[in-house]
């Protein structure tokens, strides 16, 4: 092989890489566009819950399935009392709040015991799903529907499992202790169970970023827009994820993720499945993928639904320092899940989950991020070297960046037309600007964080760093 052959082979390789990156990015965006259309269709044709149904539900409150809200708490002494008060005040006919103190090093437990006049009780654990030891359980004289479980530290999945094991209600709602649930969020999320014919096993709800909002006493008082651009970019990302992807996936019965910040599940199904896995950093994605697998392998007729209305607000990292860790962890969790359930990918035994949803996760989480990042470098280089048509490099820019802008702005159109939760026109314009600007820098930085996540996955890194938060106004 002479030098010309080597150069030719190299050129061929570059062209091949360029084409592959182009096709992957185009395919990813084509799917996203399709999801945008499906989501728009769902929103246009959806029937908003009527007063009639809600009136009946209030009148015959025993028909609303009782819910246990499980809030795992770790080092939350500053906010736990307010958060629990807000959870106790949720509008729902019958709900119990189970706070699981996951071996906090601060005074989270003490705060709870004092604020709610709690005393030690003996409560039977129906299913032992956690791997750590339960120290004590506490009940409250003032709030009979509050239970506090004190256990050794074992991360969120373990704490949630402990709570699920103590729940006695047909439904459990697993949240983050710092999630701010809308006063009627639980009611709205549980509504699909009213129309259910016993097939529904889980419901997810739309989550929004609480940065910039005014929060008092653990409740959202006023919706606002954060000052920092990183938080604004995340508003756009959350809108895209919840109003586009999840709505479309739920419509096609291929919903693969219910966020750890808010998810409503049938308790019996969770217990049967053994609850959350402890050995992954992406326990929320893993749970839903395993749920699909579990139900399909047992040939059970089931449904996982999604409520497009906002049910919960959560605080997002305000700087890139906190974001990198979070995004790398999400990526690592997705890869761990794919590895564990690789037998489902493209497997017709799992129906549309195996043939459509799992390959989509592969495209989104394994092929997509490196292909786009490599494409940004290889396509212009190949064009400059005269290996490809320069128009192809320009088309790649349009397919990735311009198309990305269109999708983000398209999601904002959906939000404004259907939910209208942005306070003012000027705020809408600010988020619109963020939807465009995020494609110039932020999007690429995020891809880099995801590559770091791939690295963590390869190293089997199990370290966990908390995402730094600054708290709310008010």
């Amino acid at each position: 092989m002479n030098l010309t052959d080597v150069v030719n082979a190299l050129a061929g390789g570059i062209v091949w890489i360029a084409f592959t990156c182009f096709v992957i990015v185009a395919l990813r965006n084509a799917i996203a566009l399709l999801q945008l259309f499906v989501a728009a269709w769902v929103f246009v044709t959806r029937v908003r819950p009527g007063e009639g149904a809600r009136d009946l539900w209030h009148r015959y409150s025993d028909l609303a399935l009782p819910v246990s809200v499980i809030a795992p708490a770790y080092n939350e002494e500053l906010s736990i009392v307010q958060s629990v008060k807000a959870l106790l005040a949720l509008e729902y006919p019958q709900h119990e709040v189970i706070v699981v103190n996951d071996g906090s090093k601060d005074d989270t437990l003490g705060e709870l015991l004092r604020a709610f006049e709690m005393h030690e009780i003996r409560r039977t654990q129906i299913a032992e799903l956690q791997q750590t030891r339960i120290r004590k359980t506490y009940g409250s004289r003032r709030y009979p529907n509050l239970l506090v479980i004190d256990k050794e530290n074992g991360r969120k999945a373990d704490a949630a499992n402990a709570g699920i094991g103590f729940a006695r209600t047909p439904l459990v709602c697993v949240i983050d202790a710092d999630s701010i649930i809308e006063p009627d969020g639980l009611l709205r999320a549980a509504e699909p169970f009213m129309y259910d014919d016993d097939r529904l096993v889980a419901v997810g709800g739309a989550i929004r970023i609480a940065n910039g909002c005014t929060v008092r006493g653990g409740s959202l008082q006023k919706i606002g827009i954060p000052k920092g651009m990183v938080a604004r970019f995340q508003i756009v990302e959350y809108l895209r994820a919840f109003l586009m992807n999840r709505v479309a996936n739920a419509h096609t019965n291929t919903l693969m993720l219910i966020s750890g910040a808010f998810g409503l599940f049938r308790r019996s199904t969770l217990v049967e499945m053994g609850g959350y896995r402890h050995d992954t950093v992406g326990e929320d994605l893993e749970l839903i993928v395993r749920m699909h697998r579990f139900m399909r392998e047992r040939k059970r007729d089931y449904r996982i639904s999604f409520v497009p209305d906002v049910v919960c607000w959560t605080e997002a990292p305000v700087s890139l320092d906190g974001l990198d860790n979070q995004r790398a962890r999400w990526q690592q969790g997705a890869l761990e899940t794919l590895q564990r359930h690789r037998g489902m990918i493209g497997n017709p035994r799992y129906g549309r989950i195996g043939l459509l949803a799992m390959p989509q996760i592969v495209l989104e989480d394994i092929l997509g991020p490196p292909a786009e990042l490599v494409g940004y470098l290889v396509l212009p280089a190949a064009a400059l070297l005269g290996l490809i048509d320069p128009l192809m490099a320009i088309a790649f820019f349009f397919v990735s960046v311009v198309f990305g802008c269109a999708l983000s702005v398209g999601t904002l159109v959906l939000e404004e037309q259907q939910l209208k939760r942005t306070p003012r026109a000027s705020d809408l314009l600010r988020i619109g600007a963020a939807a465009i600007l995020e494609n110039f820098g932020y999007r690429q930085v995020n891809l880099w964080y995801r590559l770091k996540g791939i690295g963590r996955f390869r190293r089997r890194d199990t370290s966990w760093a908390a995402v730094p938060r600054v708290g709310f106004n008010g």
Partner: protein
């Protein structure tokens, strides 16, 4: 034009289209915000005018008040009025033709529009609205719309008799959902006798048990014998429903079959009996509940424990802990 040029052009057109749509929505929001004060003043004027008319004053109607604005003003006032005033406002609204547009929309080809119209008709609840809701429930081609009309009628206490309701909703051909149960419960106080007669039909167990459950919401004590007979039915689902209904009705005679059901061989019936003992505050059930704290079924033990916490907390500590051990 090659494929890449087409991609660039297509993407540009798509992105520009979406951006224009977004800017139009921002503009719409901006205009809404800047005309809010004027709209508030207009809404206040409309509200004032209707309240004056309800009070019997002559009012000159201003031209240019949109029908939609008048409709939403009436929707706001309506929950604040009662009796004759409410009826008068509904009559005035019908005379003004405020609901014409809503009635027209209830015939729209779009399901969402028909359902939104149903929500308005429900809120008004005038005779004309009820008549239109009944028509929708009987004739609409979409089962979801028929169900929504049924909710609206239930909320206005105007559901047709249970047999008719179930026929219109094609209920007998499927398993009852929680909403069917709610509708049956809403029908029960209106037509208790028809509900009892319905039990004589050849119904499957699921529906029969839900009808019995609904009887508990009838507030008609004369049906207590029917519940007593059902509590001895060979089907456990029916026995459970009879216990639920008895607990709801609150008739003291039900204590007899509730106590007997605490010894039922079927777990679900025992659970229902425990719940009924608690609801009916049957103190005579305490010894039996203490025995159930040692039941072979975990859920029975848990529920018995909870019932005792309510009925006799003092009797709980030692025996329950012993039973647990």
């Amino acid at each position: 034009m090659n494929a890449y040029e087409e991609i660039v052009l297509g993407t540009t057109i798509c992105a520009a289209g979406i951006l224009v749509l977004f800017l139009l929505l921002v503009l719409r929001r901006y205009l809404e915000e800047h005309t809010r004060m004027r709209r508030d003043e207009r809404d206040a004027a409309i509200t004032r005018s209707y309240l004056q008319r309800v009070a019997g004053h002559r009012v000159d109607l201003a031209d240019g008040w949109e029908r939609e604005a008048r409709l939403s003003a009436i929707s706001r006032i309506l929950p604040l009025l009662r009796g004759g005033e409410k009826t008068r406002l509904l009559q005035i609204a019908e005379l003004d033709g405020v609901l014409d547009e809503t009635v027209r929309k209830s015939r729209s080809i779009y399901r969402t529009e028909r359902i939104n119209a149903i929500h308005f008709l429900q809120r008004f609840g005038s005779e004309a609205c009820i008549a239109r809701l009944r028509e929708i429930m009987a004739r609409d081609r979409d089962p979801k719309v028929r169900l929504e009309a049924a909710f609206a009628l239930a909320s206005n206490g105007a559901l047709p008799p249970p047999r008719e309701t179930l026929r219109l909703l094609k209920g007998m051909h499927r398993k009852p959902t929680r909403l069917d149960i709610a509708l049956l419960r809403a029908t029960a106080p209106l037509y208790p006798e028809q509900m009892v007669m319905l039990l004589e039909d050849d119904l499957d167990v699921a529906w029969r048990s839900q009808i019995i459950d609904a009887l508990g919401w009838s507030a008609d004590m004369s049906i207590i014998d029917v519940l007593g007979r059902s509590a001895a039915d060979p089907e456990p689902e029916i026995r459970s429903a009879a216990l639920r209904a008895s607990a709801r009705l609150g008739h003291p005679v039900a204590a007899r079959w509730v106590l007997a059901a605490l010894q039922d061989p079927v777990t679900s019936v025992r659970l229902q009996a425990i719940a009924a003992s608690r609801q009916l505050e049957i103190r005579d059930a305490v010894p039996e509940l203490l025995r159930l704290c040692g039941d072979s079924q975990l859920w029975v033990r848990l529920r018995a424990e909870q019932a005792l916490e309510h009925l006799a907390p003092e009797s709980l500590e030692a025996p329950v802990l012993e039973a647990r051990a």
